[in-house]
């Protein structure tokens, strides 16, 4: 964000809120950046000569006679191969002590891909976690969040998934990350020897919340560089999108906008969609896959943030502590990968989708049996078999510490079916029973 030769300077503010300032200025462009008392700010509204800017680092200590300089361009990131292995803040400045990146300066939050130029996602992303690969298979070009309560190990699972996935680049956008979590990711990536394929944009809880608004666009601009210019497979991790939405809420509130559900801005859906829809399978082989985290308040998915997210993303992954197995599992009922049928049975074995459905259906029967048990009713012989199956199924397949190949997952499922059920009870197509049933 170097100074430009052409700069206009103003020194009289008309209004200050915690997140925004307003002043009279002429000839400024929508979305243009400025510095306010040295702090970076962006134009969000003009009305006649009155211009409102959101100040990313907050307006603490900004006086009414603060110096405002307009920079003449929207936020940008310099892109080149030098991004690899580096850690940046929300403005794209290095925080790892390394040199500034040299490269082409690109506006962040750029245009959308022409939907007609997209390709249908078709490449499997194996993670080794059966709760994902077997029941909610991920596909490159997909966008999917973890819906998790704050106490669940979502960052750990996400790091595992990222490091096991077969991708060329991993780009981490950390929003409101605790310093501990930031160091966790850093250590995890270092320990895996994967630093050279990683780019991180980090905003920690120590930094002002409005800065977070830049993180996803920064991360995705870097991702587009690798995916579009270099035809690479890029995985973008965004954590935690709930904190991003909270920052949107702060700004819209300070601009006196009428809030809609859960005091979120009315444009929340479009704002989130702009980010998630950057996930793409490009015609020349490059792809951007987004795995995000949306933390929930006590599992409530009807809140505006997870609700709007669910309508945008291609499924969601739920983590849950399971008392039968004593492990954290990927919840098979609430989790969903919308793109799974693009690879199941096509890139994986033919029995995949039927085995998945039967496994989950029988697990649902076990849940019914459990409810009966809790209500003090006698269990039938079938109920008891279901309960035993559920425990095995959770331990050997749903648990997040599973790390096996997909064929092994399918074989394990067949083994469990044969152990507890008759072929008819699984409801699987006869041709598959004939071929795979483990008598």
């Amino acid at each position: 964000m170097a100074n430009k030769a052409y700069q206009r300077t103003y020194t009289q503010l008309q209004a200050i809120t915690k997140a925004t300032i307003s002043l009279n200025a002429k000839g400024v462009a929508n979305d243009e950046l400025a510095t306010v008392d040295g702090k970076l700010a962006q134009i969000v509204k003009t009305k006649g000569d009155l211009v409102t800017l959101q100040v990313f680092s907050g307006t603490e200590g900004v006086p009414t006679n603060a110096e405002v300089k307009f920079l003449g361009n929207p936020p940008t990131l310099k892109v080149s191969d030098q991004l690899s292995g580096r850690f940046f803040n929300a403005y794209g400045q290095p925080i790892d002590g390394g040199p500034e990146v040299e490269g082409e300066e690109r506006e962040i939050g750029g245009p959308s891909v022409n939907p007609y130029k997209r390709r249908q996602p078709s490449q499997l992303i194996p993670t080794g976690i059966a709760g994902i690969d077997l029941n909610n298979t991920l596909v490159s070009g997909q966008k999917i969040p973890f819906f998790a309560d704050p106490d669940q190990p979502y960052n750990k699972v996400m790091a595992d998934v990222a490091l096991r996935a077969d991708v060329d680049k991993i780009i981490l956008g950390g929003m409101g990350l605790s310093n501990d979590d930031y160091l966790f990711f850093k250590n995890e990536f270092e320990a895996a020897g994967a630093l050279d394929k990683i780019v991180c944009f980090i905003n920690t809880t120590e930094e002002p919340p409005v800065e977070r608004l830049l993180i996803p666009d920064m991360a995705l601009t870097a991702a587009e560089y690798y995916a579009v210019d270099k035809n690479e497979k890029v995985l973008v991790l965004l954590t935690d999108m709930t904190l991003y939405a909270d920052a949107l809420c702060i700004v819209s509130n300070r601009m006196d906008q009428i809030p809609s559900k859960d005091s979120m801005p009315g444009s929340l859906y479009s704002d989130l969609a702009k980010i998630y829809e950057k996930a793409v399978q490009l015609p020349d082989g490059g792809s951007i896959t987004i795995i995000a985290v949306t933390t929930l308040n006590d599992g409530d998915i009807t809140h505006a943030i997870p609700d709007n997210t669910g309508y945008i993303t291609e499924g969601q992954l739920f983590l849950r502590a399971d008392s039968d197995s004593g492990k954290v599992i990927v919840d098979p009922f609430r989790s969903l990968s919308r793109l799974k049928q693009l690879v199941q049975g096509k890139k994986t074995r033919e029995d995949h989708s039927q085995v998945m459905n039967a496994g989950v259906r029988l697990y649902a029967d076990a849940q019914n049996a459990k409810t009966k048990l809790e209500n003090g009713f006698d269990l039938s012989e079938y109920d008891l078999r279901c309960l035993d199956y559920a425990k095995d199924y959770a331990t050997r397949l749903l648990s997040i510490d599973v790390n096996i190949k997909i064929d092994e997952m399918l074989d394990t499922a067949w083994e469990l079916f044969a152990k507890y059920f008759s072929p008819a009870e699984t409801g699987i197509k006869q041709v598959l029973i004939d071929k795979y049933w483990k008598a």
Binding site: K26, G27, V28, A29, N30, V44, K45, T46, K47, G48, D49, P74, G109, P111, S112, V113, N114, P115, Y116, R119, Q120, Q142, V228, Q257, I258, S260, K261, G266, S267, Y269, S270, A273, K274, E277, K278, P283, I301, T302, H303, A304, D307, I312, E314, G315, F333, L336, L339, Q341, S353, N357, R361, A364, N375, F377, D378, S380, E381, Y382, A424, G427
Partner: protein
């Protein structure tokens, strides 16, 4: 003299323009941003200030930038070549755009001007004609595409000449008409129509007379939609709204399908245009894409064009309806369109209605649904626009403004349910809550009597009642326990499960199960009603469960097998064998 103006305020895509002359509500304008023209639509005028919604990103726009008003509303271009096209919400052809990314201010022509069409005249010199009358036809794929007197023509015209049969491009003058003042007017193969105005040009709009088959059992049998009818599919995310809508698009008994992907995922649109060109229409044996137009304004494309996209799609349907064709419009999702209205209303600082939606939301929705329907054309032929919209209720709660407003406007209601989806009971349409008002229409009852068999609708209600009864029994069993209820409760419950598993559930990804023709639906329903009508004897509820599970399994295998094939009949035999052991 065109009205001009300058930009005086910008909040996201809402721009205030100071104008120097008259402006009309919904009038289009171009805002000049450093040489690039951004299209915008007037949505409010106060004094000499017009508020316009810009169909593009306003990044870099400055106060003082110049604006030129176009003196017209947003129009759709209509003519041969609309089918198989992929458009954005403003009807720009997405396939002819350069580069991977959408470029701001890039507007492409909706129709190909070079392509030649084989024209056959239908009218002759001396004929008296009015708007929407047929002058000639070209073959668009296998469909007879009528070239009509433009919808905008007022009064009566006399045909002076019609060009002879031959190959022409769309800009060729194919007819010369003389108006009431004796002036010559040229007609080409294309015309324009403002999308927000309903196309008239028909004699009347009778009540729907027929059912439109979709191959989806829970719809066709339980809650059928009429040709020219309206329906909506509300449901929380992950309940299979899109899968169901795609199934209807693939299998629906219509000549023309227009799919409006309004503010939804881009990959879903990609799925349509990568799969449809390979898929065969089960009714005609032609490629699906030949009868399909896609309007896509995905969630990351400019918000203001979302609203335009559904209107553009409806106008294209109405155009084909005027040719005497059966059209179907699928809009996914109308909630996104309502949200676009909310965003604008919000930025204009209007007083909000419920959930911050604009207060006239209900009126806008019902006005849009009313554009669907069957019509009798001036020449006595009929055409229809069937409209099915999806609704994405916030938090899955159906008591929200968009769902409630839509419920008032649409005649069929397909309630997708989270708990059914959780149990993978797809399509997750709740058979008890959902309804089709058309089952009450005497015309429709008569149609079904003739088409399927006398008394069909009564059978449907009988089946629905078994399901309702089963649900009540399940509630009792849950309260009192398996042992605490008489055996007949278990039997009733399992009969409803049989209907659910063997009939209502359908595998949209299985080549055979995905489409069930009406004849096969009748066969299966008869079979099921026969079973449900029997009295069984069981020693205990365990035996009852096991027995019904066996039946369910056999009937599911039947659903997966080719109709009346050896395999199908084999399973049927096994089922009959099983029934002969128990049940009278």
């Amino acid at each position: 003299m065109a009205t001009k103006g300058i930009v005086t305020g910008i909040v996201s895509n809402l721009v205030t323009v100071q104008v120097d002359g008259p402006v009309a509500e919904n009038e289009l304008c171009f805002i000049n941003l450093a040489g690039t023209d951004l299209m915008a639509e007037t949505i409010k005028v106060t004094g000499n200030k017009a508020s316009v919604q810009v169909f593009e990103s306003t990044r870099g726009l400055k106060n003082g930038d110049s604006v030129e008003f176009l003196g017209k509303m947003l129009q759709a271009t209509l003519g041969p070549g609309l089918l198989s096209s992929v458009y954005d919400g403003l009807q720009n052809d997405l396939t002819t755009m350069e580069g991977v990314f959408l470029k701001r201010g890039e507007y492409t022509d909706p129709l190909n001007h070079e392509k030649l069409w084989d024209f056959t005249p239908l009218a002759k010199a001396g004929d008296k004609v009015v708007a929407a009358d047929w002058l000639g036809e070209v073959k668009e794929g296998w469909l007879p595409h009528k070239i009509m007197v433009p919808f905008s023509f007022k009064g009566e015209y006399t045909v002076k000449s019609v060009i002879e049969a031959g190959s022409y491009n769309i800009d060729t003058v194919i007819a010369v008409l003389v108006n009431e003042d004796g002036e010559d007017v040229n007609v080409t193969m294309t015309q324009k129509w403002p999308v927000k105005v309903a196309v008239k040009g028909y004699r009347n709009k009778p009540r729907p007379q027929k059912i439109m088959e979709t191959g989806v059992r829970v719809i066709d049998t339980f809650d059928p939609i009429a040709e020219g009818g309206t329906g909506f599919i509300p449901g929380p995310f992950g309940c299979g709204k899109t899968v169901l809508q795609h199934a209807i698009a693939k299998q629906g008994e219509a000549d023309v399908i227009v799919m409006a992907a309004c503010g939804e995922r881009a990959n879903e649109v990609v799925e349509i245009f990568s799969e449809f060109p390979q898929l065969i229409d089960p009714h005609t044996g032609r490629y699906l894409m030949e009868r399909t137009t896609i309007i896509c304004n995905t969630s990351n494309m400019p918000v203001a064009a979302r609203e335009a996209s559904v209107y553009t799609a409806m106008t294209i349907c109405e155009y084909y309806r005027a040719m005497g064709l059966r059209c179907m419009l699928l809009a996914d999702s109308t909630s996104r369109w309502a949200q676009a209205l909310r965003e604008m209303s919000n930025r204009m600082e209007e007083l909000p209605g419920a959930d911050a939606f604009p207060v006239d939301l209900s009126a806008i929705i019902s006005n849009f649904y009313s554009r669907a329907g069957m019509v009798e054309l001036n020449n006595g032929k009929t055409g229809a626009v069937t409209f099915i919209g999806t609704v994405s209720p916030a938090g899955g709660n159906l008591k929200e403004p968009v769902t409630e407003s839509t419920k008032k406007a649409a005649r069929c209601f397909y309630a997708l349910e989270q708990s059914r989806a959780d149990q993978k009971r797809y399509p997750a349409v709740n058979p008890i809550e959902s309804y089709s008002k058309y089952l009450e229409y005497p015309e429709i009852i008569e149609f079904l009597d003739n088409k399927i068999e006398k008394g069909w609708v009564e059978k449907v209600f009988k089946a629905k009642n078994y399901v309702r009864r089963g649900k009540e029994m399940a509630d009792q069993i849950n309260i009192l326990g398996d042992d605490g209820v008489p055996m007949s409760y278990h039997e009733s419950f399992w009969k409803s499960e049989l209907i659910d598993f063997a009939f209502l559930q359908q595998d949209a990804f299985d080549a055979i199960d995905a489409v069930t023709p009406m004849e096969r639906q009748k066969f299966m329903l008869d079979l099921i009603l026969d079973i449900c009508g029997r009295q069984f004897k069981f020693e205990d509820y365990e035996k009852c469960r096991a027995y019904f599970k066996q039946m369910i399994n056999l009937m599911r295998q039947m659903n997966y097998s080719e109709w009346q094939s050896e395999k199908f009949n084999g399973y049927l035999k096994q089922l009959e064998q099983l029934l002969s052991e128990n049940g009278k």
